[in-house]
Amino acid sequence: MFDKVMISVPMEQFPSLAFERARDLSEYLGSRLLVSYVIEDDLFERVSVSSLHVVTGKDQELWERKMIATHEKIARDVVVKEAKRLTGRNDLELRIVRGGYAGALSRVIEEEGCDMILMEYHSFDLLKYRIMDRSPVPVWIERHKGPIRRIGLFCTNLAPNERAPGAARKLKKAFGAGLESYYILDPGGDVDEGREEPELISARDRIKWTGVVHDRVESFITKRSKENDLDLIILGRIRKRGYFHLRSKFAKKTGASVLLIN
């Protein structure tokens, strides 16, 4: 899962924290790092729509061409240099991609064989999180600055739990962190079906549950993270409708980083 990590650089936020975490992953787990700089087409489309009455199509075309060339320069000369400084790695790979944020990243994952996306938490543009639904690989949303000392693993009856326990154990060992594990039976899912799962996971992954609880996923994870001062929350990617914003909310509400595993 951590062999080749892609760090995504959107046009609206420079992901310093994500680069710092990438340094840890590279150091502790030997991950190779790929920087993906996304030139977001929808921004240019917005300009085109909003300035149609004052800037002609020809001027927009010329301007867009110049801006794309400038962004390529920014990616090569500035972003990579800063990324090397923050990660302490000189062998970073760079991909400059154009398109919608989620679509462009999915393409890079497929073409470059990345097995995880590392992005920084961003409160201002939730659309960026569409990648959480589209990505074929786990997504790490970095929010916590500093070392990871406490990890919370949350398996639930709303999400697939095949890989999350293994990842949690691996990260616990790599970071030398404490691990607490919970199984949440959420009334929003099929509780009866999930009832047997805690024992099965426990036997399969040698996980000793800190607690098996009946509660809503959102409130339990938020409460537990705050009370126990968790630095990293690991959970399966919840597929239930209406939970889209919830996943990024964990990062917002708790201040912890979130690793979503499908």
């Binding site: 046009m11 609206e12 936020q13 420079f14 310093s16 921004l43 240019f44 917005r46 300009v47 729509v49 909003s50 300035s51 149609l52 009455h53 004052v54 800037v55 002609t56 199509g57 020809k58 001027d59 927009q60 010329l62 301007w63 110049k66 801006m67 400038t70 962004h71 320069k73 920014i74 000369d77 500035v78 972003v79 240099k81 800063e82 201002f124 543009d125």
Partner: protein, 460 residues
């Protein structure tokens, strides 16, 4: 048209029908009420833009005819206002300036003047945008300037979204163009719109008079906004060692000045000088100079007819036509004076409150809709408020025209903000933070200029 656009269209239509269905108050004619209905339709149309703004301009022209609030002759004769043709001439001149490397040379020379001081670099970025916006429409300038400034920022190694200097430079570029566009009638479509409106009221404002009223405000605003920007985003370095070399390389890389470029540049200079001198000394009309200037540029090889066709945003001409007819009909129907009387009942005709009200109202509106649209909506109302308060119409119209350009807070406020945003050097949050404070500062600057300087030079 998709479902979302239809949804956006339904609100303006509903508002228009609601205003028409309301009982008519005493003292308001049917034509006045119908024009309020058109106003109620046009404001959300300008805000939501379910269709291109040029088409909104057409609807604003057509609706008074359908509602029986105006006749065909007065509607389309308003479209023939000289300022419309001034705008066409100004866009032709601007097209020529875009084609020459002159704008690039000017902006790089401005940046070089800043030396290696980061604070000065923010100031001179603003000044280069402001200066170019004296000569051509601000949106044309920002489209040219943003790639240059972004390139310079990248060349000196400023990290996008982390570098305060990068934020200051790119937000400063947008703000510099916005503020500079107030400086001359060439700076933005709302300036000729204001002049056109005043012409329709029998008041002439020539190039020099416009500058006399606006330039002190421009200079004051530039200095204040620069101060705010370096305060909000204090540059992370004391000196930029690499910038002299970067700018020298850029200037050295410009194509050599050819004979034709020199001729075009001289012609442009001559046109600008004519704008300033001829109307004041010989009473020559601004529109005449703009149109002859456009033809002269064509004759000296500054542009081809294809450039005229592809570089003039015809949408703004239609929007402009709609805007000017809206103003004329609101006044002729008595709607503007009806509303103004109610407002003066509240302000008591105080110059202090009248200025403050018009400036704040215009600033609020222009943050959320196209500058030209905001000015077109408020010109008749603002000037009627001043007239009812016993103050000069020129003052009311100029206040709306100038405040209407000052949009800073959001990406939707003006295309300039969005164009600069695509540099990737600042976030929406940064713009909001800067825009909020800069709005307060510029409201104070407009108010001070109108209340003190304009009084001093005898405007009121």
């Amino acid at each position: 048209m998709d479902r979302r656009q239809l949804g956006k269209l339904s609100l303006p239509v509903l508002l228009m029908l609601s205003v028409l269905a309301l009982p008519r108050p005493d003292g308001l004619s049917y034509e006045g009420q119908a024009m309020f209905a058109v106003l109620a339709f046009s404001i959300p149309m300008f805000l939501l833009q379910p269709i291109p703004l040029g088409l909104v301009g057409v609807l604003v022209m057509v609706l008074p005819l359908i509602l029986g609030a105006a006749d065909v002759g007065s509607t389309f004769s308003a479209f023939g206002n000289p300022a419309v043709f001034f705008l066409i001439g100004a866009f032709m001149i601007s097209a020529a300036m875009e084609k020459t490397p002159l704008h690039r040379r000017i902006s790089l020379l401005f940046l070089r003047t800043a030396g290696s001081s980061p604070r000065m670099l923010v100031l001179f970025t603003m000044l280069s945008g402001a200066f170019l916006s004296f000569l051509m429409p601000e949106h044309g300038v920002i489209v040219l300037l943003v790639p240059i400034i972004t390139y310079v920022a990248a060349s000196i190694g400023l990290v996008p979204l982390r570098s305060n200097l990068g934020k200051g430079m790119l937000i400063g570029a947008a703000y510099g163009c916005t503020i500079g566009s107030l400086g001359t009638p060439l700076g933005g479509a709302r300036n000729p719109l204001t002049i056109g409106f005043l012409i329709s009221r029998g008041i002439e404002v020539n190039f020099l008079r416009w500058m006399e009223l606006s330039l002190p405000l421009v200079l004051l605003s530039i200095l204040l906004v620069w101060g705010m920007l370096v305060l909000i985003f204090p540059p992370e370095m004391k000196r930029i060692k690499t910038i002299p070399q970067v700018l020298e390389d850029e200037l050295g890389g410009l194509p050599p000045v050819t004979g034709r470029n020199l001729l075009v540049s001289l012609t442009l200079l001559l046109i600008i000088a004519s704008f300033i001198i001829l109307p004041s000394l010989f009473g020559v009309d601004l529109t005449l100079i703009a149109l002859i200037g456009g033809v002269a540029i064509f004759l000296v090889g500054g542009m081809r007819w294809e450039d005229v066709e592809s570089r003039i945003p015809w949408g703004i001409i239609l929007l402009y036509g709609g805007a000017i007819t809206l103003g004329v009909h609101l006044i002729e129907s008595g709607g503007a004076s009806f509303l103004a009387d109610r407002i003066v009942d509240i302000t008591g005709g105080s110059p202090f409150l009248s200025i403050l009200l018009v400036v704040i109202l215009t600033k609020l509106l222009t943050e959320f809709m196209s500058n030209t649209a905001a000015v077109s909506v408020l010109l008749p109302i603002g000037s009627a408020v001043f007239l009812a308060a016993g103050l000069p119409v020129e003052m009311g119209a100029m206040l709306v025209g100038l405040s209407g350009g000052l949009a800073f807070m959001f990406l939707i406020s003006t295309p300039g903000n969005l164009i600069s945003f695509t540099s990737g050097y600042f976030s929406q949050k940064d713009l909001l933070k800067a825009g909020l404070l800069v709005n307060l500062v510029t409201i104070a600057a407009v108010f001070l200029t109108a209340y003190t300087y304009w009084k001093l030079i005898g405007v009121w």
